[in-house]
């Protein structure tokens, strides 16, 4: 039910125009962090205020919105933000990746390949990849401006020196369009290759840090590495989803009893449901059947 007390998608029109201008600038300079006048939102920082503002600025009445948190459509953050847009914009929502025109995400890029008519909106906690290496914001901006990125490799060097391999598993720095080093927000590095040459527009919003950045469609995105320690994604050898039997996807580990029992399921809940609907089965296909039932539907909230 749309709430008439709010402007469409909560933000007033002037604010949306301001955010759109920042988005356009971000798209024009791939990977560059554009400052914007981030607003107070009716949710705490850390809950996706940046992503919500970006989504509010680009969403139209005809859009179909998908909200994911850690890959899943039915976790707290996803449910809360989906409800927010159902209430303030009255748009259709879905859990199906293929049906969505806007996907707002925290942590994951859907397993399903994205298309040119989709936009992926990331919620970003810390947009500055050099933050923990160089504490001064004035200095990090200068380093971006002058393309001084040697320091980023110092972090990777430390990883190898300490752990014997590059142990950074999330927020793995990437070089966008051969120019700006960018923090892909806390997505697992498993998803980094999906950013490269992606058909969909990717927008990143950091509410607390007041930054927006973007990767335009079909843009080169390279994960940083060393010649003798090349970038590689996590491999989950021997693991398969307990529900749908999928291999080589990103998994959630689910503790199922008090005796150390655990199972692995697809982190991307829509992908898992799609596979089960197509007849794929894992080792424990019925385990979750009593709890699920909300996913897989496209519902109109108006």
């Amino acid at each position: 039910m749309i709430d008439q007390h709010y402007n469409f998608a909560y933000l007033d029109e002037q604010t949306k125009r301001m955010i759109r201008r920042a988005i356009l600038k971000a798209i024009a300079i791939p990977g560059y962090q554009v400052p914007f006048a981030s607003r107070e939102m009716p949710m705490p920082y850390g809950w996706g205020t940046g992503g919500v503002q970006v989504t509010a600025a680009i969403i139209g009445a005809d859009d179909v919105l998908k909200m994911i948190d850690q890959g899943s459509d039915d976790t707290t953050n996803a449910v809360a933000l989906r409800g927010f847009f159902e209430k303030t914009a009255g748009v259709a929502t879905t859990s199906k990746t293929a049906d969505a025109t806007i996907i707002q995400t925290r942590h994951r890029i859907p397993e399903h390949e994205l298309t040119a008519d989709q936009t992926l909106v990331y919620q970003v906690p810390i947009p500055e990849p050099l933050r923990f290496l160089e504490p001064r914001e004035t200095e990090t901006r200068k380093m971006h401006a002058l393309e001084e990125y040697g320091l980023m490799h110092v972090k990777l060097y430390e990883d190898i020196a300490t752990h014997g391999h590059i142990a950074t598993t999330y927020a793995y720095p990437v070089l966008v369009y051969d120019r700006y080093v960018m923090d892909p927000s806390p997505t697992p590095k498993f998803d980094n290759p999906k950013m490269n040459n992606c058909a969909a527009l990717q927008l990143f919003g950091a509410g607390r840090e007041k930054r927006i950045y973007a990767i335009p469609p079909y843009t080169k995105v390279v994960s940083l590495d060393f010649e003798d320690h090349p970038f590689e994604v996590q491999k989950f050898e021997g693991l398969a989803c307990a529900l749908c039997g999928a291999k080589h996807v990103y998994f959630d580990e689910v503790v199922i009893d008090d005796h150390g029992g655990r199972m692995f399921t697809c982190s991307d809940s829509d992908y898992c449901e799609e596979r089960r609907a197509a007849g794929h089965v894992g080792e424990q296909p019925d385990f979750m059947s009593s709890e699920t039932g909300s996913g897989g539907k496209t519902e109109h909230a108006a």
């Binding site: 002058l146 490799h153 060097y157 430390e158 020196a161 003798d228």
Partner: protein, 258 residues
């Protein structure tokens, strides 16, 4: 020594409001030469060093540097990107307090390797190899390569800072009181090390110090500063053994004899 100067300062002045940091300083530095700038606290030594090393823009005057292609360029006409590139490749800067010149949060190896990575080295094995080599040259044990500078003593930190600066084979190194805060035996070792490196690598060095013993051991030539002005210049032994200006005589006679 080449017959052309590496660095030429032309009447540098720096004012802090009405107060002069340094006034009308001109000199030339030749390749392979070690120049000491001495004087008491507040005489403008560090201001001058910062003006020369592009950390602080002088109010007036020029600083020209002979680039590797042989051309003399005014540093303050260059873009900031080029200046910063120069600062981390062809130059070194050794701070008095090693914490200012080191990244305290990362290991010794990464500290030495940072400049290599900054100029595009992307092979971990090579970076580590060079880091180990340089740690050896500044007498830091190879098994400390993965330890952070916080676990190092003051003397080791200073030596690590020197290694970090020299890894890209700079031609000019600025040193601001490199032995300040170190006890005398560590000072002696550090000076010995620096002297050896300077001779081996043919470095040009501008060293700022209030310690005349450091100037005598390291430098070929020295400038004595007082109230922002250079009052006496000459060969180190000449100035120290036969000071001309009353102020220099006072400085030399103030050295404690044991």
């Amino acid at each position: 020594m080449s017959d052309q100067p590496l660095l030429r300062a032309g009447s540098i002045s720096k004012f802090y409001g009405p107060q002069a940091g340094c006034l009308d300083v001109s000199f030339e530095l030749w390749p392979g030469e070690v120049l000491a700038i001495v004087g008491e606290s507040g005489s403008g030594k560090t201001t001058l060093l910062n003006c020369l090393s592009t950390n602080l823009a002088p109010t007036s005057g020029t600083v020209e540097y002979r680039m590797r292609d042989g051309h003399l360029r005014n540093l303050y006409d260059m873009g900031e990107a080029e200046r910063r590139f120069l600062l981390r490749t062809d130059w070194g800067f050794v701070h008095q307090n090693p914490a200012d010149g080191l990244r305290m949060g990362v290991s010794a190896g990464a500290n030495v390797g940072e400049r290599l990575m900054a100029v595009g080295e992307r092979h971990y094995g090579n970076i580590r190899g060079q880091a180990l080599d340089w740690l050896g040259r500044v007498e830091i044990a190879a098994n400390r390569v993965d330890d952070g500078p916080r676990t190092f003593s003051g003397g080791m930190r200073q030596r690590l800072q020197i290694a970090r600066n020299l890894v890209t084979s700079p031609r000019l190194v600025f040193m601001d009181e490199p032995t300040g805060g170190l006890d005398v035996s560590v000072q002696a070792r550090l000076l010995d090390l620096v002297r050896g490196l300077v001779a081996d690598l043919g470095l040009s060095v501008i060293v700022v110090t209030h310690d005349l013993a450091v100037a005598r051991l390291l430098s070929h030539r020295m400038m004595v500063m007082k109230s922002g002005r250079v009052i006496e210049t000459g060969l180190t032994d000449q100035v120290l053994d036969d000071p001309r200006e009353p102020y220099t005589q006072l400085l030399v006679s103030s050295i404690l004899q044991v």
